[in-house]
């Protein structure tokens, strides 16, 4: 009996080992062929995917990274960003700003057609803005537009129209602001302000989010929650000859490992949502060298400390934390994707130059601050330090959790013990935004638009404090900082903005309500037959102007179809085509 048992065990072990071998062999398939120098050409459907789902594609209500990429294909805005990240007119032919910076006159291009065939006029611009900011529209960021004259009355349903938006002709629209705002063109570049087809009506309707209609280069032909968004070229697009692609197929809710399978088998042309292991594998694989690039996410992160409750109402204790953190250790967890960063504004908006104010790692200074705070700590004996454990709130199973575990070790070296409280996303949002609730936790901010004030005004100024849902998680109030940000938001002079923000950074470094320790980047990869793509400094996954080398893609598909393929049911998606000789030769690097 024992012998049979042993034999069975051996057989089972062999079976498991065989499965593991087949399942786990690290086989990165290289790109097929070289990138050819081809002119832009029309045709082909670009295929890719998101890990997340997209709830709606209604310009008035969608405001997240995934839907922004799709909205960039469906809607054109009055102004947008050029390849260097500077604001340029798009649907507007020109934009005139009054001397006091309170009146913006947009002159529209003539002959621009919506995807339903109707012509874009100034009336559509006004109607679309009023639709987005209507009292019944669940627009998550309507208050971005609160400087438009008459906003309060209109948003509260007390006025029938937005008085600050006036028609000055068939193709001219004037927007009056209640106060000077240098960020106004940035908010006009957001899809929220994009003109939508007349069929969308004057008020929000949930159905429009499923079958949206704008003046962008692609129209939606199919949108299924959790599955796919299919787009086809808008033939009446105002930019002649564009877009080059026939369409875009964006799968939704696809796990990163499935995306990789699809990318490797030629199902996807472009991807950026890699697991850490796959990202490293592709970045270091010689065959893929030159086919990928890093994209900035305009996100900085670290930790916040609540300045209105003990123990971090003690400024020296906050400064001790700031000096104790070593950003390089955080970056080491996800090499490449996470970069050490010690100032509030990300490098993509204001680059870090030597001497620029920011926080720094200095263990000696950290211990000196502990002493000044009244909690001297001796690292050699482990005596002293802050006497109680401090609760630190982090999001469960996030990078913030991993970073918090590093902070825990770094702070222990100066005598501060933190206890991690790992919570779900809704709990995190609610608890951290409630006054007096949380002593410290994970902080991070993703730019709404690329203006440096956007990294201070919503999260570090007095007006961002509220009892519930506060965005100023550290409940930090500093009049000097408030004034600097107010002035930076009013001035159109970039050099002056930089100077004011530099002062604001100095205050944050000194007062340490936030300790910034990293910024985030994405690695993006595409097949050699995809041309014209480069990560945009502002617009995420900006694929509207790319084109496909269709001949090279055909060869790629054929070459990748050389593995055994069994078609069990006719009509299923797998293409079991034989490889051509030239394609097989091209696979040399596999």
């Amino acid at each position: 009996m024992r012998s049979i048992h042993e034999k069975t065990e051996r057989a089972l072990l062999l079976l498991v080992a065989l499965c593991a071998l087949l399942a786990c062999r690290a086989n990165v398939t290289g790109p097929i062929g070289e990138r050819r120098d081809v002119q832009p050409q029309r045709g082909g459907v670009l295929r890719t995917a998101f890990f997340t789902n997209v709830r709606t594609l209604d310009a008035a209500t969608a405001f997240d990274t995934a839907s922004a990429a799709l909205e960039g294909l469906i809607y054109d805005t009055l102004v947008s960003y050029d390849d260097a990240g500077k604001i340029v007119p798009l649907l507007a032919e020109s934009v005139d700003v009054s001397a006091d910076g309170k009146r913006f006159t947009f002159t529209l291009r003539k002959g621009v057609r919506f995807q339903d065939g109707s012509e874009l006029t100034a009336r559509d611009v006004k109607r679309s803005l009023e639709r987005a900011l209507h009292a019944d529209t669940p627009c998550p960021v309507a208050s971005f537009y609160d400087r438009i004259a008459g906003y309060d009355e209109y948003r509260k349903g007390k006025a029938a129209e937005l008085s600050g938006v006036k028609l000055a002709g068939r193709y001219t629209v004037e927007i009056a602001l209640s106060d000077t705002d240098a960020t106004f063109l940035h908010v006009m570049a957001l899809p929220i302000a994009a003109p939508v087809c007349p069929g969308a009506g004057k008020t929000w309707d949930a159905e429009f989010g499923i079958s949206p209609c704008g003046a962008g280069p692609f129209r939606v032909t199919r949108f299924e929650h959790g599955r796919v968004v299919e787009l086809r070229r808008h033939d009446g697009y105002w930019q002649k000859g564009k877009p080059y692609l026939d369409g875009v197929e964006w799968q939704l809710g696809m796990p990163a490992f499935t995306q990789r399978f699809e990318f490797e088998s030629g199902g996807f042309d472009y991807m950026r949502e890699f697991s850490d292991a796959d990202s490293l594998l592709y970045r270091t694989h010689p065959a893929w060298k030159g086919h990928g690039a890093w994209a900035s996410s305009m996100t900085t992160a670290g930790l916040f400390m609540n300045t209105q409750r003990p123990p971090f109402d003690n400024r020296h204790l906050r400064r001790a934390v700031s000096y104790a953190l070593r950003a390089e250790h955080i970056a080491a967890i996800r090499q490449g994707h996470v970069w050490p960063h010690r100032k509030v504004v990300p490098g993509a908006i204001i680059e870090s130059t030597p001497g620029y104010p920011g926080q720094r790692h200095d263990p000696k200074q950290a211990l000196a601050e502990m002493k000044a705070a009244g909690y001297p700590y001796d690292p050699s004996t482990g005596e002293g330090g802050y006497p109680e454990e401090i609760e630190y709130v982090a999001l469960l199973e996030s990078f913030g959790q991993q970073a918090a575990e590093i902070y825990q070790q770094q702070l222990a070296r100066i005598g501060i013990r933190i206890r991690l409280q790992l919570v779900s996303w809704p709990t995190f949002l609610t608890r951290t935004g409630r006054r007096g609730e949380v002593a410290m936790g994970t902080s991070g901010w993703h730019a709404d638009y690329p203006h440096a004030t956007n990294f201070f005004e919503p999260i570090l100024t007095t007006k961002a404090i509220s009892d519930e849902n506060s965005q100023n998680l550290s409940f930090f109030s500093n009049r000097e900082l408030d004034e600097l940000v107010r002035r930076a938001r009013r001035t159109p002079d970039d050099a002056e903005v930089r100077r004011l923000i530099r002062e604001a950074e100095t205050i944050v470094a000194r007062e340490a309500p936030w300790v910034t320790s990293y910024e985030y980047r994405y690695f993006e990869l595409w097949h050699p037959y995809l041309h014209g793509y480069r990560p945009h400094p502002v617009l995420s996954q900006h694929v509207r102007d790319v084109w496909l080398d269709l001949e090279a893609r055909r060869d790629d598909r054929r070459a990748r179809a050389t593995r055994p393929c069994f078609r069990l049911v006719p009509g299923t998606r797998d293409a079991c085509r034989p490889a051509t000789r030239s394609a097989l030769a091209a696979v040399g690097g596999r």
Binding site: V141, D205, T258, T427, N469, V569
Partner: protein
């Protein structure tokens, strides 16, 4: 028998009401703000407050509960503003979508996130869930029962030991591991099945083809469990007096195994099967995620993560109904399987 059945039916209705009510109150007293989640981290407090108001979340909880029940049963188009169904739609909301169960017609409200009637969302998610669930159930029962019967019959042989060992692996291996392994080998390497996805417009053959890997992933776990259950039950039964009598009467092995022993072993199997129905409908969360299967589990996860109350309550109502009804069915089937129950 009939009186007992009516009593069980009434108890089942009470259970469903109690579960839904409990879920409503638990969801609504949680110290989390669905409006904040819906609005997103970038939303300013004024915008969050506006969305809360639009969804009716600023009203007292008792008012919301009363309005929820009123809306659920009131068959009046356009009057279902209980939890934000028509509020905030600019008067152009789609007509409330209802589900009819005989004389009862229910409106479960509108999803906070998808802004679609809950009945629509669940109605779309149910067919793929049922497809995978039924396939998985068939695999579980067929493979599990066959393996269990043969292992018990050929006890202390290589097959028996192999079954015991494999069922241990099957029960212990988490579905994300089994799912990934199957996906890698059969979809990526061999390309016998698709990597994932579901085509609602395709033929049944194509849909069954797409459902195969998710169903096997789910089915393997259950099959291992059923195999163990049937094997252990059969081992005890094969030593029973009535089996010895059957053997003495010269009955063939096949008849003894399948007519006498297995029929008796089915009673605990059916009990577990009834309880398992709820798991199959809602427990395929990981499997659905791996294979991008747009079933109930998929929507449940996102609704839980984003505190989409109407969807959560709708799913709970659906699950509790499935579990309660399948248990009722199990009770009835006892009578068919065991004549002693009929006589009680």
């Amino acid at each position: 028998m009939l009186r007992s059945l009516v009593a069980k039916l009434l108890w089942a209705l009470f259970t469903i009401w109690a579960v839904v009510t409990l879920t409503f109150f638990v969801f609504n007293v949680l110290p989390e703000d669905p409006a904040r989640v819906i609005a997103g981290p970038q939303a300013r407090p004024a915008d969050v407050a506006r969305i809360r108001e639009q969804l009716g979340l600023d009203r007292p909880i008792t008012t919301r509960y009363r309005l929820y029940l009123e809306q659920m049963f009131a068959d009046r188009v356009g009057q279902s503003a209980a939890i934000g169904v028509t509020v905030g739609t600019g008067g152009k909301a789609p007509p409330p979508s209802r589900v009819s169960l005989g004389p009862i017609s229910l409106d479960l409200g509108t999803s906070y996130l998808l802004r679609k009637p809950v009945v629509d969302v669940l109605g779309r998610a149910l067919p793929p869930t049922l497809l995978v669930g039924i396939l998985a159930l068939a695999i579980q029962v067929a493979v599990g029962t066959a393996a269990g019967v043969i292992a018990a019959h050929r006890r202390h042989t290589v097959f028996d030991w192999g079954t015991v060992a494999l069922t241990l692996v099957g029960i212990s291996a988490p579905t994300f591991l089994t799912g990934l392994l199957l996906q890698h080998v059969f979809a990526y390497e061999l390309r016998v099945f698709p990597l994932g996805g579901y085509s609602p417009e395709a033929s049944w053959a194509v849909r069954a083809h797409e459902a195969f890997l998710p169903a096997v992933t789910l089915g393997l776990f259950g099959a291992a469990y059923y195999a163990r259950l049937v094997r252990d039950e059969m081992i005890v039964l094969l030593k029973a007096d009535f089996i010895r009598t059957a053997r003495a009467k010269g009955q063939r092995d096949f008849v003894i195994l399948y007519r006498h022993a297995l029929r008796n072993a089915l009673v605990p199997l059916v009990t577990v099967l009834g309880l398992n129905m709820g798991v199959l409908v809602g427990g395929a969360i990981v499997t659905e995620k791996i294979f991008r299967w747009p079933g109930i589990g998929y929507y449940t996860v996102s609704a839980l993560q984003e505190r989409d109350g109407p969807i959560i309550i709708g799913v709970v109502l659906l699950f509790s109904t499935v579990v309660v009804l399948s248990n009722l069915l199990v009770d009835v089937s006892y009578a068919a399987l065991d004549p002693r129950v009929r006589r009680r």
